[in-house]
Amino acid sequence: MKILVCISQTPDTTSKISFSADGRTFNEAGVQFIMNPYDEWYALVRACELRESLGGSVTALNVGPAANETTIRKALAIGADEAVRIDAVPPSSAFVAKQIASFAKDHGFDMILLGKETIDYNGSEVGAMVSEHLDLPYVSYASKLDLNGNTATIEREIEGGVEILEVDLPFVASAAKGMAEQRIPNMRGIMSARTKPLNVVAPVPFEDQVETLKFTLPPAKAGVKLVNPEDMDELVRLLHEEAKAI
């Protein structure tokens, strides 16, 4: 079983988000970066579990600059056998998907896993793009994934419920809560991560069709209007007349 797990690096949820004065670039100063939680907790951990029960290998792949290597080493500490970094500062999800696909195309992975979305750009685009580049089936928002021989049984989150489906290897799936439990790397993992292979690969050229024009911060809330807890008629009036919400 050869599994590829795509990991991205994102600002921690609690980070303060700000941009350059022209709104073009994200200010990284003072921001704590983490492995995207869906990639880490669900995709990577499930890949490691499958390798532990079935044998094979887990490759963690990141498209990013050398500064991301701390995050990549964490993936190795959690249990990936080897890592690949495609050396680029990714301008878009389409770029990332192209790089992942061009790497994966010659490596015969049985399964490609990634998180359901990143917590920064919230696009949920990469998995679908990778699958199309590679002409593979794609299962998004998988909250449960079991393998029986060549066939996976997957639960996929849909609006208000789940869909249960079967798909044969190879395929691409994006992982959501439920697929695995977060693992904290132990000392042995951290030590061994230092010597596991981390290969750096040059990116392939790609022309983007989407241009980022400007980031802005959402308008600040006007401030909360407090309503007397004894007077819920007043709250209903406000919701109806002022907020037009009911």
Partner: protein
């Protein structure tokens, strides 16, 4: 031409697709062209209604192989329809279906994609806006390719049914064999799924016991709302997992979000801070949620919630 994929999960075209057609019609008006909707599969009984929302034509690929969802076959078929019809803009819904297709379709058509948009494009640059960093920032993207794809966030536009129904035109497109075998679908019947709900009543650990949820359900039923919960509540099994909203749960943007006994941790806010109106009921005046709220009630939820339910009943009776 603007092509809108009107998805019909489990045989029914729903509000999200009506929103997408309303949006597609507005984009078509901007571009001086028409809006065409396409329906996949054989069961979409209410497809004709799409005309009311602005589709000048409704196309249907009535092949039973499309009744189950497979992103690969759907993408192949939609790409062919887009080419056949000469679509310049393709609009999808930012739903479980749309998210699984959007990226694929952009690769297949060589078209730029912006997913989860919540604004109409600027004319000229075709720049569209979406919320990023879990609601903490907004970004404008411009799509440069000849064919453009957007997926529309739920509740971003109001469906406008002022047009008239149209008849459905069958078109034939070859449907490749799918590789995904759908075995079963389990959904909550009778409730509006959270991502589509206009009003959400959500409760957290302040409820103390799972057996106390009656007052939350009463409020939700009175408002016609869907119920949600904070993560610890779902994690401890007090409420089903599909109700869990926030960074690790689902992100929603209803018109009205009522948070009961939820402290308002940043990871919770990440999933709900795009709600249009937020009401917070909490006994702790210092709870962080009040900073993100439009209306706040500082008080004991066990008294305030039943009182609010009564006030709404009174209001509904009078209106």
């Amino acid at each position: 031409m603007v092509l809108v994929f009107a998805e019909s999960p489990r045989g029914q075209i729903k509000k999200t697709a009506f929103e997408a057609v309303t949006y597609g019609k507005k984009v078509a008006d901007q571009l001086g062209t028409s809006c065409v909707a396409v329906v996949l599969g054989t069961n979409a009984a209410n497809a004709g209604e799409l005309g009311k929302y602005g589709a000048s034509k409704v196309l249907q690929v009535a092949d039973a192989a499309l009744n189950d969802f497979d992103s690969q076959t759907y993408t192949a078929v939609l790409a062919d329809v887009a080419k056949q019809q000469g679509a310049k803009v393709v609009v999808l819904c930012h739903t479980s279906t749309g998210k699984a297709i959007a990226g694929r379709l952009s690769v297949r058509l060589g078209a730029g994609l912006v997913s989860g948009v919540n604004s109409l494009p600027e004319t000229g640059t075709f720049s569209v806006r979406k919320s990023v960093f879990s609601g903490k920032a907004i970004v404008d993207y411009s799509i440069k390719s000849d064919v453009k794809i957007v997926s529309l966030m739920g509740n971003a536009v109001r469906p406008d049914a002022s047009g008239s129904p149209v008849s459905i035109e069958n078109i034939s497109v070859s449907v490749p064999a799918g590789r995904i075998r759908v075995k079963s679908v389990k959904t909550q019947e009778g409730t509006v799924p959270l991502p589509e709900a206009e009003i959400v009543v959500s409760a957290g650990r302040g409820m103390k016991e799972p057996t106390n949820w009656g007052i939350v359900e009463d409020l939700a039923n009175t408002l016609g709302a869907t119920t949600a919960c904070s993560r610890p509540v779902a994690d401890s099994g007090w409420r089903p997992h599909h109700e869990h909203v926030g960074q690790t749960g689902i992100a929603i943007r209803p018109n009205l979000y009522i948070a009961i006994g939820i402290s308002g941790a940043i990871q919770h806010l990440a999933g709900v801070n795009n709600s249009k109106v937020i009401v917070v009921i909490n006994k702790d005046a210092e709870a962080p949620f009040f900073k993100a709220a439009d209306y706040g009630v500082v008080g004991d939820l066990f008294e305030v919630v039943p009182r609010l339910t009564e006030a709404i009943k009174k209001f509904k009776a009078a209106h």
